[in-house]
C-alpha cells in the first residue's frame, strides 16, 4: 500500500515537472500579426531573389535543418534566427533601391519587436536552448560565412519567406492549440 502511494506520488511529480518544463514553451510564442511582414516581403521578393545567383546553395535550410527542429527548441531557434537577421543580414545588405530599402526596414523593425517579446520569455527562463538548436544555429552561420557577404546577405534576404513560413507554422500551431 505504501509502495503504491509512493509510486503515485512520483508519477504525479514527474507529470508536474514535465508540464512546468513544457509550459514556458507553450506560453513563449509570438502573438504578433505576421501578415504585415509577409506582405512586405512579397513586394520585394522578386527583386531580391532575382539577384540570387547561387540557386544550388541555401543558408537557412541545409539538409532541412529548420524542418528538424523540435517543439521544445522553437523558442530558442526563433530567438537565434531573429538575432541572425538583425545582427548580420540587415546590416550587411546594401540596398540601392529606396523602395526596397523601405520594405526591408519595415521587416527589420518587426523582427526587433519579436525579439523583445522573446526576451521576456528568456528572462523568465522559459526559452532555453538545447544542443540541437545550438548546432542548427551554428550551421546557418557557417553557410552564411561561406559566401561573399553581399551574395550571402541577398540570399538570406531571399530566404526570408522560408523563415517566416517556419515561424508561422510553429507559433501558429501553438496559438491554435
Amino acid at each position: 500500500m505504501k509502495v503504491q502511494r509512493v509510486s503515485l506520488w512520483l508519477l504525479g511529480a514527474m507529470l508536474i515537472l514535465c508540464s512546468v518544463h513544457t509550459h514556458p514553451l507553450r506560453r513563449c510564442w509570438i502573438s504578433m500579426d505576421m501578415r504585415h511582414v509577409e506582405e512586405s516581403f512579397q513586394e520585394i521578393k522578386r527583386a531580391i531573389q532575382t539577384r540570387d545567383n547561387f540557386q544550388n546553395v541555401t543558408i537557412l535550410s541545409p539538409l532541412g535543418a529548420l524542418q528538424s527542429i523540435k517543439p521544445l527548441d522553437v523558442c530558442c531557434m526563433t530567438k537565434n534566427l531573429l538575432a541572425f537577421y538583425v545582427d548580420r543580414v540587415f546590416k550587411d545588405h546594401q540596398e540601392p533601391n529606396p523602395q526596397i530599402l523601405r520594405k526591408i526596414s519595415s521587416i527589420a523593425n518587426s523582427f526587433l519587436y519579436m525579439q523583445r517579446t522573446l526576451q521576456q520569455c528568456q528572462v523568465q527562463s522559459q526559452c532555453r536552448c538545447s544542443q540541437e538548436a545550438t548546432n542548427a544555429t551554428k550551421i546557418i552561420h557557417d553557410n552564411y560565412d561561406q559566401l561573399e557577404v553581399q551574395s550571402a546577405a541577398i540570399k538570406s534576404l531571399g530566404e526570408l519567406n522560408i523563415f517566416l513560413a517556419w515561424i508561422d507554422k510553429n507559433h501558429q500551431e501553438t496559438s491554435a492549440a
Binding site: 505576421m34 501558429q172 491554435a176
Partner: protein
Amino acid sequence: MLSLLVVPLTAILSLCHGFSEHGTELPSPPSAWFEAEFFQHILHWTPIPNQSESTYYEVALLEYGKEPWRDIPSCRRTLEFSCDLTTATLNLYHNNGYRAKVRAVDGSRHSNWTSTQTRFSVDEVTLTVGSVKLEMQEGSILGTIQPPRPQMAPEGNTYEKIFRHFRQYEIAIRKVPGNLTFIIKRVRHENFSLPASGEVGKFCVMVKPSLASRTNKGAWSEEQCIVLSKQYLTVTNLSVFTSVLLLCGALAYCLALQLYLRHRRKLPSVLVFKKPSPIIPVSQLPYPEMQDTIHSLIEEAFPKVSPELRNSDLHGSTDSGFGSAKPSLQTEELQFLLPTPHPQACGALGKGVPTELQDSCSNGSHSSTDSGICLQVLNYGPGPGPTWEQQVEKASQGQDDSGIGLVHNSEGQPGDAQSGSTLGHVSLTRPEVLEEEDPAAVAFPGYLKQTRCTGEKAAPAGCLEEETPLTGDLGAQFRTYPDAEADWPPPALAKGYMKQDPPRVTVAPSGSPTGQWNQLPAEGSFLGLTNSGDLGTSDWSFIHDLAPLDCVAASGGLLGSFDSDMVALPLISSLYSNE
C-alpha cells in the same frame, strides 16, 4: 599575294559564323513564370520572336538548395508555351521551393536559359475550392464548400492538412434578376448558412478561399445557383395549420351544441295562445330583442278603465306595442285579435285603407317581422266597418311578433266616436296564450299582457320623458300624462298586453307602474297612436318612430287617462274618417 589569302580567309570566317549560330543563335524566351493552383503547377513562358515551326523549348527544374538541375523531357513540345510541372514539384508544400528555366531549341540551335525570377514556393499557389453545394432548409441557404481534390496530389496531402489553420472563405451572393452582387460574409469553416429572410427567387453564390496567416491569392469559384420558393409545408406551418384546424373544430362543436339547445326551446308564448301566466317580475323579463314575449298582468294590479273606454275601439298598430290596449279595457271580454300582421296591410293602414286590414288579419299570420299587431280600424262612420273579431288561433303561426292583431269592428259605436274614443273593440288574445310562454322565450320586454282592463289611469309620466320628440298635438297630448302619474294606482291584474321596457323595467304586480314607463324602448311605437290627437293616415309611419308613446299606450293607467283626456280618441276618429 594578298589576293590569294582573301579567299581562304573568307572561307574560314564563314565557317566560324556558322558554328556560332549553331550554339547561340536563337534568342532566349523573354520571361518564364509559374501559375499554380493546389497541386496544379504550370510553367509558362513567352515565345521567342520569329520562331519557326520546328522550334521547341527545353525546361529544367531545380529544387532550391539541391543540385543538379533536372531536365523535364515532357515539356519538349513544339509550338507550346507552357508545361505542367506538377509531377516534378510534388514536394512544393514541404520544401523551400523550386527554380525553373527555359530555353528555345530549333534544330541544332538553342537559346540561352531564361529562369523564373522568383523561387517557386507555396506562397505563389492560388487557392481555389473544389465545389460549392447549396440547399434550402427552413428559409435559409445552407452551403457546403468542398476543398480541391486534385488527382495529382499524393495520398495524405489534402488541402485541409497542408493548410491546417486559419482557412477562411468569402461568400458572395447575387440575385439572378440583376447583376448586383453582395459579399455577405467571411466564414472560417467549410459550412455556412445564409438567411433568406423570406426572399424568393433564384440566387447564385460564389466562394473565394483565403488563408488568414498567408498572403496566398484566392480565386472565385463558379457560381452555384439555387431557387428559393415559398415553403408552405414547413414544420411551423404544419403545426399552425393543425392548431387552427383543432380550434375550428372546437368552435364548430360549440356552435352545433348551441344550435341544438336552441332548437329545443319552445315556441314563444305569443305563438301559442294559452292561458295567461301570472305576472312575471320585470327582473325576470328578458332583453328587448325578444319581442314576442307577452306577459300577463294581474288584473287587479291595474285600475279599471271607464266603461266607455272599455268597449271603445282600440287603435292598433302594426307593432307589438299594444300596450295602448289600455288595461282598463283589457277585461276578459276584450280579446285582441292576433292575426298575422300583413306588412302591406299595415302599410295600407298608413295609407288609410283599413278595410284591407281585416282580410290580412283574418288570414292569420304571415311571415312578418313586426309585432304582429294588425290594426283594423273601426268604422264609426256611416259605412260599414270591419268588425272586431276574436282571432286567437290565427295569431300564432310562426310569426315573430307579439301575436296581437286588431281587427276592424264594424259595429260602430257612435257614442264612442262622439266622445272621441276611437278605440275599437280590441280583442286581446286569450290569456291562455301566456301560459305556455317559455320563460326563456319571454325575454321580450316590449309587451306585458294584461288580463283585465283595470280602468285606472296609467302613469305615463316617465315615458313622456323619452327622447323621441313628438310633434304638435301629439306631443301635447302626452304632456298631460304626467299629471296622471300621481294618481297612478298599483297595476291590477289585467288581460292584454302592456309594452314593457328592457330588463330594467320592472312590472311589479303590486308596485307602482310609474317606473315602468320611465324607460321604454323606442321600437314599436304604435301605442302612440292611441294617444295622439290629430294623427291622420299619413302619420302612421311617424307613429312607428315615437318611442315613448309605446309606454304610454301600454300603460293600463293610460286608459284611465283617457277618462280625463280623450285626446286620443279624435285621432282614431280621424283615422276612421279618412277611410
